[in-house]
Symmetry: none
Subunit: 441 residues, 2 copies
């Protein structure tokens, strides 16, 4: 086999995955990281907790690729069989790894607990294998070279343990051909549909042609469309080729591009506000904290985000944000617009800004479903408000998909998109799923 890692297979283990109880997200993540590193994944396999099946799969794949990354099956219980399957393939005997045993004991002790006897198995490895330290859990990983020369990394299943172990122990041990590289770059956009982006890139010199290098593709996740560029070839040409493409894509997509790399939309908004020394507050109804959660997921958000209100009830909207009681249907006023309305969204945003003293305030009120629809306002109707200094409060209305979780996700991101387009002075882009304030398309 090649001494370089060109292709790889990814194996995920666990009855819960193969029986359909848990969605495997590790394989996708590992594929993305391998691609970023210049290694091409050629197969994903998910297996049940079956020692024979795991061993047979490792043997089969080791004849095809020289790199296998496994996740799962390293826990302390009888259904965690990866180490035993690896032993079957490697031969030899199982040994107890002193350093790992000490690390597992220390992990428990640091949490005020005593290691159970059951966890002792997690310090075992086939004699021919190495342990991989796991700073975030009790399951160390395993590394071994199989008889074919194929290298196998076995990582624990929980993503929070698996991901840092990949970064610190697997990524540095990938062997890439000198002078050859695979480099990926992504730009993230909001406000444009995937087909509109594809049309613009295709008109500009067929930038999405399959045979092009760098190759360019798009992926949509909820309302965010990412443009992914991938260069494969001589190392020397990578930066110039990607720089040229990145400039071209940015020119074609304009202010819709909010970030590159791993930056989220919330992080991009916070960075702009931080530059301008401005602050933000939120008032959420149907999203119930999701917008605040996206914002505060960004490290260092506290110098921009001053706080918010989860005004789930009309009473809370009135009491905490001063939304006039007459706006609610329960007020009995014949023309009351109701809790899900442009008027209430505006009063929520203005109230949040007034009470908190923030530069900007975002508000969301809507019908996430499955109940709550009223005539003229089906499930998925959401009003979003943006209040700030020196402009009339902006209100947009959306008609979103009918699934509760999707409505909430889309609404929180649409609120951030409104803030984004405001701070980049784009007053013309209409957001996806936006409708007129009277509900017409």
């Amino acid at each position: 086999m090649s001494t370089y890692h060109r292709t790889a297979a990814i194996v995920s283990q666990g009855d819960e995955i193969v029986l359909g109880q848990t969605l495997d997200t590790n394989s996708r993540w590992l594929s993305g990281r391998l691609m970023d590193a210049g290694v091409l994944p050629v197969e994903h396999v998910s297996l049940p907790d079956d020692r024979g099946a795991i061993a047979a799969t490792l043997t089969r794949l080791s004849e095809r690729v020289n790199l296998i990354i496994c996740s799962g099956g390293l826990g302390p219980t009888a259904d965690d069989l990866t180490r035993f399957a690896l032993l079957d393939v490697l031969g030899g005997e199982m040994v107890e790894d002193e350093a790992s045993l000490a690390a597992i004991r220390a992990y428990f002790e640091s949490r005020g607990r005593v290691m159970g006897e059951l966890n002792r198995v997690q310090a075992q490895r086939p004699r021919a294998a190495e342990m991989i330290a796991n700073p975030h859990g009790t399951a160390p990983g395993l590394f071994a070279r199989l008889p074919s020369g194929c290298e196998v990394f076995c990582l624990p299943g929980p993503p929070r343990e698996m991901m840092p172990m990949f970064e610190s122990h697997v990524r540095p041990r990938l062997r890439l051909e000198p002078g050859r590289t695979v480099v990926t770059r992504s730009l993230h956009t909001i406000g444009l549909g995937e087909s509109e982006i594809a049309a613009r890139l295709t008109r500009a010199g067929d930038m999405m042609a399959r045979t092009r290098n760098p190759s360019i593709g798009t992926t949509a996740s909820q309302s965010i469309v990412s443009v992914r560029m991938r260069y494969e070839g001589a190392s020397a040409g990578a930066a110039a080729a990607l720089d040229a493409d990145e400039r071209a894509v940015r020119d074609l997509l304009g202010s819709a591009v909010f970030a590159d790399g791993d930056q989220t939309l919330a992080a991009a908004c916070l960075a702009r506000l931080r530059e301008r020394k401005q602050t933000l507050s939120v008032a959420e109804s149907c999203t119930g904290g999701l917008l605040g959660s996206l914002i505060t997921d960004v490290a260092g958000s506290s110098d921009v985000f001053v706080g918010g209100w989860l005004t789930y009830s009309n009473e809370a909207k009135r009491r905490d944000l001063g939304v006039p009681a007459a706006l609610f249907s329960e007020s009995g006023a014949a023309a009351a617009p109701g809790a899900v309305s442009a008027e209430v969204a505006a009063a929520m945003a203005e109230g949040a800004r007034r009470v908190s003293g923030s530069s900007f305030a975002l508000s969301i009120t809507g019908i996430a479903g499955p109940g709550g629809a009223v005539p003229g306002k089906p499930v998925g109707t959401v009003f979003i408000g943006l209040a700030g200094d020196g402009f009339a409060t902006k209100i947009r209305r959306f008609a979103m998909s009918s699934d509760r979780s999707a409505v909430r996700d889309w609404a929180a991101r649409a609120a951030l998109a409104m803030l984004w387009f405001h701070v980049v002075d784009d007053t013309t882009t209409r957001l996806l799923r936006e409708v007129r304030l009277d509900g017409s398309a």
Copy 2:
């Protein structure tokens, strides 16, 4: 091979899946539907758009199982190769299916469009295969019996086309052994570690033995551990066997069991409060809306959840919830406990309950990181408060893992766990990662 379908393999196709750009959700869904029907999935495979790899995989799997369900690779473009791979395995020639061609033309015409020449390939099938009608798209499916006797159903990739085709064409053709069934059941727990649960089940008659029926396994996802039971055998015995095991597991794990099936911890808490006609509010600092988001993700939460405060700044804690200014370090008071303290957590919960009038209020204040650590309070230090009528405000302190996102997730779930154990009158269970209020283990 058996004339009955006992086990199955699931194959998903597409570069976008194997390269990590798209998450494969079809395989999980198909596994769940097969399990519901009494067929045990034994392997998932995802393959790139590679005719040779697809054909080799079909041949390999057909020697192991007598049922394969494929999704993807039936589109009209050059990278859709499933029909050709199937031809390679079946032998013979490709033919154009008249009825399918007419159906594809009609599909376009019904949408006011003309079928492109590219789509004509979608009416092709190996002579030995049958077409499966697709009422929701242009890609008919394919059915064939391979030389080994294994039956293969090829369905298109888009879930909204694939799912109805499974229900109408695959499900009715599954051949189940009369009187035999596979049934799964899961119980979800909080507050106990996976190894503690395994130890209890193992001491009770080796309930996790691999050869047992029902078989019992555990999976951990963040702080929640699920116990999964699977019965395989005579239909007549299924309910009694699972009922007996469910009772035994519930007895062994007690109040740690908060739900079965798909119910979340937040939903379980809300259901208990709803029964008792009680309400809930939240005051969040480091989680910034995540707790509220978990609560309001539950449909119908508005009759229990009255709202909350994202008091990210000290000023907001003071202004909105009446937290005494003297508690903050910035007050200059020598003995001020600081914003991340038992005292502030208590004042936040009591303030939220007082202002909102809710039966209970949960508060969270902590250091999510990566910055913000102070002497004696490292990143991951979190205080959680629960205020309510008739008891002194409960405060617990946690030492959580050091990753920002993990600290926040864990903190939000720990808050729900405190509420859960309170409403089920469990005053003894110490939560995972809990430490004493002075920070000692």
